[in-house]
């Protein structure tokens, strides 16, 4: 298996760092799936697909990499699945951020000390004419072929209502505050473009109303789902991307789905609903 990619555009590097940074803060380990056309980052809390939140990010390699080459497991399964510990990457990223704009970043699949690694070779500007190269090796595990089906692309969901969320900044802050008041919140969306977020405890009830939202799709008049605030707050808190569009889908009582859409990448967050017992 081989993989080699080089990024030279500073905006792409910055964006890549942002995405990778976000993914690594959202779970203990992250799966990187490399195909001939895309890079995927997958974070899932537990193996049981239905019960836990899932973060799925797809990057278009053509946008990010000026040079890209890969050879998968075999000609039939021409993909690479790697698993790495999020914390290890976080250190690389902080090095990248601190040292300023890198001139180029090369990512390679290598073997160091007889174990596979994802190597980042970062070419940094220096005071003199010589180049300064910083190399980070992140140990990875190759995910065996039989487990690849665990990480299948999630099925396009058929939501009851889908709205375009423009005020994410406010939502972030509201969810953060609500998290301090209660464990769960209910999201209610109507086909008229009104989204309300409600928490209710013995001491207080708080409802936020986002209205005049553009409705992308509506199968029902309204839909609502109860979700765990800590998880949503964690996700929104660590997300520092500036997507062009954020779509929120709700499947009655079952799922809340946030879809961050941009030219070069998509980031999806699937948050399962909690059943009121």
């Amino acid at each position: 298996m081989k993989f080699r990619g080089k990024m030279i555009d500073p905006n792409c590097i910055k964006q890549f760092i942002g995405i990778l940074g976000c993914m690594t803060k959202l779970g203990k380990s992250c799966i990187l799936r490399i195909t001939t056309t895309d890079l995927y980052f997958i974070v899932r809390e537990s193996q049981t697909i239905s019960a836990s939140p899932l973060i799925w990010c797809a990057l278009d390699e053509g946008h990010f990499f000026s040079e890209f080459g890969m050879e998968g497991l075999s000609t039939v399964d021409n993909e690479i699945y790697l698993e790495f510990v999020a914390e290890n990457v976080a250190r690389t990223l902080s090095a990248l951020k601190v040292s300023g704009t890198a001139k180029s970043v090369k990512i390679k699949l290598t073997k160091k000390l007889s174990s596979p690694c994802l190597t980042f070779e970062i070419d940094l500007p220096s005071g003199t004419n010589h180049s300064r190269l910083v190399v980070h090796d992140i140990p990875v595990n190759l995910v065996p072929r039989r487990l690849w089906n665990d990480y299948l692309e999630p099925e396009a969901m058929d939501p009851d209502i889908s709205v375009h969320m423009p005020q994410l900044r406010l939502m972030k802050s509201i969810v953060e505050r609500m998290k301090n008041l209660a464990n769960m919140a209910t999201i209610h969306v109507t086909s008229e473009g009104l989204l309300t977020l409600t928490v209710e405890t013995e001491a207080v009830s708080v409802t936020s109303h986002f209205d005049n939202l553009h409705v992308e799709k509506k199968k029902e008049e309204e839909a609502s789902v109860t979700i765990e605030l800590k998880r949503l707050s964690n996700f929104l808190g660590h997300e520092q991307l500036n997507p062009q569009k954020v779509v929120c889908d709700v499947l009655q009582s079952k799922l809340m789905h946030l879809n961050f859409l941009s030219d070069s990448y998509t980031l999806q967050y699937f948050l399962p609903g909690i059943n009121d017992q």
């Binding site: 409802t207 109303h209 209205d211």
Partner: protein
């Protein structure tokens, strides 16, 4: 949006829903079934006016469509719809129009009316909720707070074990609108929860860009405090449970008992406080007519430290002392004074003959307005010493 006045049962929540409905661009509000039974009609008109006031506050136009059948019943005689406006004594603004309408529209109306709600006994409106949260955050050293509202303003008290007490005073001039319908309105609620609600759109500092608009309502004993906050078109409404208040200590600081009084810059005092030796149990304040300094002393493991601030220095605006005064205070009890000290511009200290110290912090909020926080702490009585 259907405002059905068949019965006078109408809740504030429904009024709020009506206002929200306007936000959804459904701007027709239909009034029907207004009976001419006098008492009910009066109540309905009062509610209608409140609703229209909310619309004005939210900056939205309201269109009241009076069905033909309605106004004939409601107003004996055949006055045109415009007279209905005069009858209600609506102010002449471009915010609403009253049109006659012959057919009923029955849009979807979320029927969440709950209990019968009458007028608010307390209503506060502010363009920038950050001001009130800035002040209340400084006194939030305990969760429970007692609110006391009179025509002179809002007083919020947080107390610890019937000893130290922090009070915040916000005068009516700071609010855009302050209505108190009883002589004194008192209730107790969880201040931490209130602050979470006030900061729901972000808790950045007082001077930062965003400024959520606030409306606070309270309907009297046993009802929750309702807060409506608006920022960039997003509205958050909160209902915080109130409980019957526990009586708070009323520290009576008559000026005749005050022995020592200082007015000084709070920045200087804050520096001193932050550097006090934390291994010391208590801190001592001393001043006398003869001494040139205001002395702050700690007794820690490594020794006794004195901080002397000369009376003549720039940081002390005034110092008046009728006789020598020196009292010790438990350092742990002094802690709640640090936060208000941090946001204030000036502080006054007064010590009376029993050793009770009162700090009064002056905090500038908007261009011409000040808020005050005062802090009371009794002296540490040392039984071993002879007085």
């Amino acid at each position: 949006m259907l405002l059905n006045f068949r019965s006078s049962k109408f809740s504030n929540f429904a009024l709020y829903n009506a206002a929200m409905f306007l936000f959804n661009n459904k701007q027709q509000i239909l009034v029907r079934n207004l009976t001419n039974r006098h008492r009910v009609f009066q109540d309905c008109c009062a509610i209608l006016l409140q609703f229209l006031q909310i619309c004005i506050d939210l900056g939205r136009k309201a269109y009241l469509l009076i069905a033909q059948a309605v106004h004939n019943k409601a107003l004996a005689g055949s006055s045109p719809a415009s007279d209905f406006g005069e009858f209600l004594k609506l102010p002449k603004t471009s915010h609403f129009e009253i049109q006659q309408f012959d057919r009923f529209i029955m849009p979807h109306f979320s029927s969440q009316n709950i209990s019968v709600e009458q007028n608010h006994v307390l209503m506060i409106r502010m363009d920038n909720a950050k001001i009130i949260s800035h002040i209340l955050k400084a006194i939030n050293f305990k969760e429970n707070s007692v609110f006391c509202c009179t025509k002179d303003g809002l007083k919020v008290t947080v107390e610890d074990m019937k000893s130290v007490q922090l009070n915040a005073f916000i005068e009516p001039g700071i609010f855009q609108s302050y209505v108190v319908k009883e002589e004194e309105i008192k209730f107790q609620l969880n201040l931490t929860v209130l602050l979470e609600c006030l900061n729901v759109f972000g808790s950045s500092g007082l001077q930062s860009g965003t400024s959520p608009a606030l409306k606070l309502y309270y309907n009297g004993h046993g009802t929750p405090v309702s807060i409506l906050l608006e920022e960039s078109g997003v509205i958050t409404d909160c209902k915080i449970r109130t409980v019957h208040f526990d009586p708070v200590l009323d520290y009576d600081f008559g000026t005749s008992n005050v022995i020592g009084r200082i007015i000084m810059s709070s920045e200087c005092l804050k520096e001193v406080f932050c550097e006090l030796d934390s291994t010391s149990d208590c801190v001592q304040f001393s001043m006398s007519p003869d001494s040139a300094n205001f002395r702050i002393t700690t007794f820690g493991h490594s020794g006794t430290y004195h901080v002397d601030i000369p009376k003549a220095s720039d940081v002390i605006e005034s110092l008046r002392c009728t006789s020598p005064v020196s009292f010790k205070y438990k350092l742990s009890l002094m802690k709640p004074s640090i936060r208000p000290l941090g946001i204030a511009q000036k502080v006054s200290l007064r010590i009376d003959d029993t050793g009770l110290i009162c700090f009064q912090f002056m905090i500038k909020v908007e261009d011409n307005h000040n808020c005050y926080i005062d802090f009371y702490c009794p002296a540490d009585v040392d039984f071993e010493e002879d007085e």
